[in-house]
């Protein structure tokens, strides 16, 4: 603090009492001889007064240390994991007492119970849907089958009808000529 020193040297009181360099020695000498060291006190007071005088108009500014300012050291981004939360106690918090363990267990159990319940509900719903689909599919198959049967029946009936209509007149003819005609046809088929 060079400027303050110079000011003390220049100031009246300091000049009158003693030079700054010698002041210590003198005070020491005096203090050694006198039990009460008045001059020293005076000097201190004078210093304070001078400081006040010098700092007139301006308020004394607080000097912040770098730590207090909380500025990042290299002015760069710190990764999330690296930065540690302030004011938090270091280390892990253990759970070893029965009560807290029981509460955690109850929470976990309730959670699991809910999960299982929802799973069961879901499974039941899925099962219902599956059953409904199965029933529907079966119904569809049944309808298709019945339709097919109907058409089959219809065809059969048609055939029977057509054969019945022809049979009235030609039955006698066919019966009469059955043996000879059949034989002739067979021959032609076998040698073709």
């Amino acid at each position: 603090m060079a400027p303050s020193r110079t000011s003390t040297v220049k100031s009246k009181h300091a000049a009158n009492k003693s030079g700054i360099r010698n002041s210590k020695t003198t005070s020491k000498a005096k203090s050694s001889s006198d039990p009460v060291s008045k001059p020293k006190k005076k000097e201190q007071q004078s210093k304070g007064v001078q400081k006040l005088k010098k700092g007139e108009g301006r308020k004394k500014r607080r000097v912040y240390t770098e730590k207090e300012l909380d500025i990042p050291q290299l002015n760069m981004i710190t990764p999330v994991g690296v930065e540690k939360p302030k004011g938090k106690k270091k280390g892990k918090v253990f759970v070893d007492d029965r009560e807290s363990m029981m509460t955690i267990l109850a929470m976990v159990n309730a959670d699991k119970e809910g999960q299982i319940e929802s799973k069961m509900m879901k499974a039941r719903q899925m099962e219902e849907i599956r059953e409904a689909r199965k029933a529907e599919a079966e119904k569809r198959v049944e309808i298709r089958k019945s339709k097919l049967d109907e058409t089959k029946e219809g065809l059969r009936k048609k055939r029977k009808r057509s054969t019945g209509a022809d049979g009235g007149e030609e039955s006698v003819k066919s019966e009469a000529a059955a043996g000879t005609k059949a034989l002739k046809k067979r021959k032609s088929v076998s040698f073709a």
Binding site: V93, V95, R98, M102, I104, V108, K119, A123
Partner: protein, 188 residues
């Protein structure tokens, strides 16, 4: 060796609750009604979690960390990502409090103990109303716990499954005592 943190306790209980019912709370009740009754606690040692009597755990603190191999019952280990993996050594505890069970017929025991999944043809009995992907304990027909697994299908769906279909995915079986002998207890 240290007790578990809150997060770790939660992870552990969540895993155990997959296999057990509400009777899980019996794990941590005191052994008698005295004021300073002994009880079971969970201790973490070299990422493995042990279920151990408090009195034994207190004695074990006199053993240096690197010299202490194991204490109590090893339940499993915490992975690096913070999940918990149950070991076959936890089977006695799980079997005691199991919620859903599967009984395997004699012809299915060996395939399971050799590390296979449980197929439908090997199942003798199963718990009713078991949902899909639920932890189950696998027993032999004479009620000896063989291991544990996770159901592949719910009970209703499994009924319709063909005999070669997988009903239960294996998680751990007693065969691991031999197969994983080198790594099951040693920590490297």
């Amino acid at each position: 060796m240290r007790p578990l943190t809150e997060q770790e306790t939660q992870t552990l209980f969540a895993k155990l609750a997959n296999y057990t019912g509400t009777s899980l709370k019996n794990l941590i009740v005191p052994l008698d009604n005295g004021p300073n009754a002994d009880r079971f606690v969970f201790r973490l040692h070299q990422s493995r979690c042990y279920y151990v009597r408090l009195s034994l755990a207190n004695l074990a603190i006199s053993v240096s960390r690197d010299k202490l191999l194991s204490l109590g019952t090893c339940l499993g280990k915490f992975t690096k990502s913070g999940k918990f993996r149950l070991h076959i050594t936890a089977l006695p505890i799980l079997a005691e409090h199991a919620r859903y069970k599967v009984w395997v017929k004699a012809n299915g025991e060996m395939p399971f103990l050799y590390g296979g999944h449980v197929v439908k043809a090997h199942i003798g009995r199963w718990s009713e109303d078991c949902p899909e992907h639920q932890g189950v304990v696998v027993y032999s027909m004479n009620d000896t716990p063989l291991g544990f697994g996770v159901t592949a299908r719910s009970t209703q769906e499994a009924r319709r499954l063909d005999p070669t279909g997988i009903t239960c995915f294996r998680q751990a079986d007693c065969g691991e005592y031999l197969r994983d002998e080198d790594t099951l207890f040693a920590t490297s």
